[in-house]
C-alpha cells in the first residue's frame, strides 16, 4: 500500500492491469523466479543442446554397453551404448512439448467449457456435464488405440489424445468455481451495469477463478508427462529409437540394479521440471490474488 503512495503521479494516469500487477509481484517471489529460470534452462538445453553435441541419440556402441558417467559420456550410456546425456536432452524435447501443449489444450477447452456450463446453468449445464461424465467413462487406452488406428501414428495425436482426457477434470473444477461465483453480488452488479455476458465471464469470472485453475494446471503438466510415458511404454507414443523422459525412466527402471544412472538422470530431469513448475504455479497463484500482497 505504501508503494502506491510513493509512486510518481504519472504512474497513476495509466490503469495498470491485474496482469501487470501480478507480474510485479511474481518478480519478487524468489522461489517462483527460480522455478521459471530452471524451466527455461531445461527447455533451452533440450531444444538447443543436441545441436552442440556431436553424438546422435541413436548412435549405438554395442561393445561399450552400459557404462557409468565418464569424461566421454557425462551421464553414462545405456545398455545399447547410447549417450545418456543426448538422450535425456532429446527426451526433454518430447516431454516438455507434450506436457505444455497438452496442458494448454486441456486448459483452454476445460476453462471455456466449464465456464459456459457453470454460467448458463440449468438444462444446458446438466447436458454438458453428462457429456463430460460419458467421456470420463471411456477407457483411455482404447480411446488412444482407436485414434491411432483411424489416423495413423502421428505425434500430434498424442497431444490430442492426452488433451482430450485432461480437460474433463479442469472443466469440472471451473464449473464449480463459476457456479459459486455466479450468485456473488459483484456478478449481479456487473449484470446490472449492462455488461454483456462474454465480458462478465472474461473480466469478472475467470480472474476470480484463476487460483484453482493455475494450481490444477501445474498439476496437469506432470500427469501429462507420465501419461506420455505410459503410452510410449505400450508402444502407442514415442517410437524407438526416439526418446522421451518417460521412455528413459521406463528403461532405467528395468535396469535399475545394474546401471542405476539410467534411472537417476532422466528421473532427476523430470523431478526438477515438476518442482520448478509447482513453485512457479504457486507463485503465480499468489501473485494473481491482490489480497495476498502485503507490500
Amino acid at each position: 500500500m505504501n508503494t502506491a503512495i510513493a509512486e510518481p503521479p504519472e504512474a497513476i494516469e495509466r490503469g495498470t492491469s491485474l496482469w501487470r500487477d501480478a507480474w510485479h509481484r511474481l518478480a519478487k517471489n524468489r522461489l517462483a523466479v527460480g522455478g521459471a529460470i530452471v524451466l527455461l534452462i531445461l527447455t533451452l538445453a533440450s531444444f538447443l543442446g543436441p545441436l552442440l553435441l556431436s553424438q546422435s541419440y541413436e548412435t549405438q556402441d554395442l561393445q561399450l554397453g552400459a557404462t557409468p558417467p565418464s569424461p566421454q559420456h557425462w551421464l553414462g550410456t545405456d545398455t545399447l551404448g547410447r549417450d545418456l546425456l543426448v538422450r535425456v536432452l532429446y527426451g526433454g524435447r518430447v516431454s516438455i512439448a507434450v506436457g505444455l501443449c497438452a496442458t494448454a489444450v486441456a486448459l483452454t477447452i476445460g476453462v471455456l467449457y466449464g465456464t459456459v456450463a457453470g454460467f448458463l446453468g440449468g438444462k444446458v449445464d446438466a447436458l454438458m456435464m453428462r457429456i463430460v461424465d460419458i467421456i470420463f467413462a471411456l477407457p483411455f487406452t482404447v480411446f488412444v488405440i482407436l485414434l491411432m488406428v483411424f489416423f495413423g501414428r502421428k505425434f500430434v495425436l498424442l497431444f490430442a489424445a492426452i488433451g482430450a482426457v485432461q480437460w474433463l477434470t479442469m472443466a469440472r473444477i471451473v464449473r464449480g468455481q463459476v457456479k459459486s461465483l455466479r450468485r456473488m453480488e459483484f456478478i449481479e452488479a456487473a449484470e446490472a451495469l449492462g455488461l454483456p455476458t462474454a465480458q462478465i465471464i472474461f473480466r469478472h469470472m475467470i480472474p476470480n477463478a484463476l487460483g484453482p485453475i493455475i494450481v490444477y494446471a501445474t498439476l496437469t503438466v506432470p500427469s501429462v508427462m507420465l501419461l506420455e510415458a505410459f503410452l510410449s511404454f505400450l508402444g502407442l507414443g514415442v517410437q524407438p529409437p526416439m526418446s522421451s523422459w518417460g521412455v528413459l525412466i521406463n528403461e532405467g527402471a528395468a535396469n535399475m540394479e545394474e546401471s542405476p544412472w539410467m534411472l537417476l538422470f532422466p528421473g532427476l530431469a523430470l523431478a526438477l521440471t515438476l518442482f520448478s513448475l509447482n513453485f512457479l504455479g504457486d507463485g503465480l497463484r499468489a501473485a494473481l490474488d491482490p489480497r495476498a500482497s502485503k507490500d
Binding site: M1, A4, I5, E7, P9, I12, E13, R14, G15, T16, L18, G122, M184, E185, F186, E188, A189, A190, E191, A192, L193, G194, L195, P196, Q199, R203, H204, P207, N208, L210, L288, D289, P290, R291
Partner: protein, 341 residues
C-alpha cells in the same frame, strides 16, 4: 398515474416456481416515479420489495423466477419484455442500482479505478486508459480522500462505508435518470449510514436523478423520500406522500409499523409489536394479506378481493374498511414524525 412519469410499473407479478410450490414474491404491484423524485419502498424481509426492483432490471434468475403479468415502462421501453440488447443499454447507463452489501458487490480482483469507470467503457465506448483517467474525479465526487492514489487500490483495502461510496460513484458515473438503492445502508454502521444517505441526497440534487429507495427502516423513509409505498406479502398496502403516510395512516399495517418504532414509544413502556408472522406467500391469499394480524379485521377482509384504491388525495390504501369509510386511523401515539434529517 401522471404522464411525466419516468417509470410506470403496472400490475407486476414475479413468481418463483419452486419445488415447494409457487412463491408469489411480487403479486400485483403498481407504482410510478417521476423525474427527480424519491420513492421509498418499505416493508419487512420477504415482503417482495427487493424482488420487485430486481425485476425491473431483469436480474431475476429465470427459471425459477417468472414474470406472470405486468409491465414496467421506463421512458416508453418495457423493461420486462424488451430485447436483451435494449435492456443492456439501459442498465447501468440510464438506470443504475446500488446493492445492499458493499463488501461483496465489488470484484476483489479489479482495481477500484477500473471498477468505478467500467460503466463508461461499456456505455460510452471509452478505452480502459481513457476511462481510468476519470476515476479520481468520480471518487472525489463521493468524498473519498486521496482519490488520485486510491484508484489504484483493490476493494479489500477499503472499508465498508468507502466501498458503498465507490458503488454510488459507479452507479452515478453515467448520470442515470433513475437510481435503485436496495437497502444501501443496511450493512453499514449507524454513523456511516447517515453519511451515505446524505451523499445520495447530494448526488441526486446535483444530477436530478430519480431514486427508488428500498428499506425496512420506516424512519429513513420519513426523512428521505417524497413518496413511499408500504409493501407486505408481495403487495402494496399503502402508497402516499411521506408526510401523509405518517400523519394520516390509511392502512392498519402502516399504523402498526409506526407504533412499533422505538423512538415514538414512551421510555420504559413495553415496545409494541405486531402479533403473528407474515403469511406464507407460497399459498394463494384471497383477501387482505394482513387480515390475520390486524386488530380491525372483519370476516369480509379475508373473503373479498381488495385492490389498492385512492382513499384521499394522492393517498392510496388497500384496506377494505378504510375504502368503505368504516375506519379512521390515528397516527401512532400522536408523536412527531421521527426526525431523520
Amino acid at each position: 398515474m401522471n404522464s411525466h412519469a419516468l417509470l410506470v410499473v403496472e400490475d407486476l407479478r414475479t413468481y418463483f416456481h419452486t419445488r415447494g410450490g409457487i412463491v408469489r414474491a411480487v403479486d400485483g404491484v403498481s407504482f410510478s416515479i417521476g423525474k427527480g423524485e424519491t420513492l421509498g419502498i418499505v416493508g419487512e424481509s420477504g415482503s417482495g420489495k427487493s424482488v420487485a426492483c430486481y425485476s425491473l432490471l431483469r436480474l431475476i434468475l429465470q427459471p425459477p423466477g417468472r414474470f406472470e403479468s405486468g409491465r414496467a415502462l421506463f421512458d416508453g421501453t418495457d423493461l420486462l419484455h424488451c430485447p436483451e440488447d435494449e435492456l443492456r443499454h439501459i442498465r447501468g447507463n440510464r438506470l443504475s442500482m446500488i446493492f445492499q452489501d458493499p463488501m461483496t458487490s465489488l470484484n476483489p480482483y479489479m482495481r477500484i479505478g477500473d471498477q468505478v469507470t467500467e460503466p463508461l467503457r461499456i456505455h460510452r465506448g471509452l478505452s480502459r486508459t481513457e476511462a481510468f483517467k476519470r476515476g479520481p474525479a468520480a471518487l472525489r465526487e463521493v468524498g473519498i480522500q486521496d482519490a488520485d492514489n486510491r484508484v489504484r487500490s483493490y476493494p479489500h483495502e477499503f472499508s465498508g462505508g468507502m466501498r458503498q461510496r465507490v458503488m454510488i460513484a459507479m452507479a452515478l458515473i453515467t448520470k442515470p435518470e433513475l437510481l435503485i438503492a436496495d437497502e444501501p445502508t443496511t450493512a453499514l454502521d449507524v454513523t456511516v449510514q447517515a453519511q451515505i444517505l446524505e451523499l445520495i441526497r447530494e448526488m441526486q440534487k446535483e444530477l436530478g436523478t430519480a431514486v427508488i429507495f428500498i428499506t425496512h427502516d420506516i424512519g429513513i423513509v420519513s426523512g428521505f423520500c417524497d413518496r413511499a409505498l408500504v409493501m407486505y406479502a408481495g403487495r402494496v398496502l399503502e402508497a402516499a406522500p411521506t408526510t401523509l403516510l405518517f400523519e394520516k395512516p390509511k392502512h392498519p399495517y402502516n399504523q402498526a409499523l409506526q407504533r412499533a418504532i422505538p423512538a415514538l414509544n414512551e421510555k420504559g413502556r413495553e415496545l409494541y409489536t405486531i402479533p403473528g408472522a407474515p403469511p406464507d406467500v407460497s399459498k394463494p391469499i384471497v383477501g387482505c394479506p394482513f387480515a390475520l394480524r390486524c386488530e380491525y379485521a372483519l370476516e369480509k377482509c379475508v373473503t373479498s378481493e381488495i385492490l389498492l384504491k385512492e382513499v384521499a388525495l394522492s393517498h392510496h390504501s388497500a384496506c377494505l374498511r378504510v375504502q368503505l369509510g368504516e375506519l379512521d386511523l390515528t397516527p401512532a401515539s400522536g408523536a412527531e414524525i421521527p426526525a431523520n434529517k
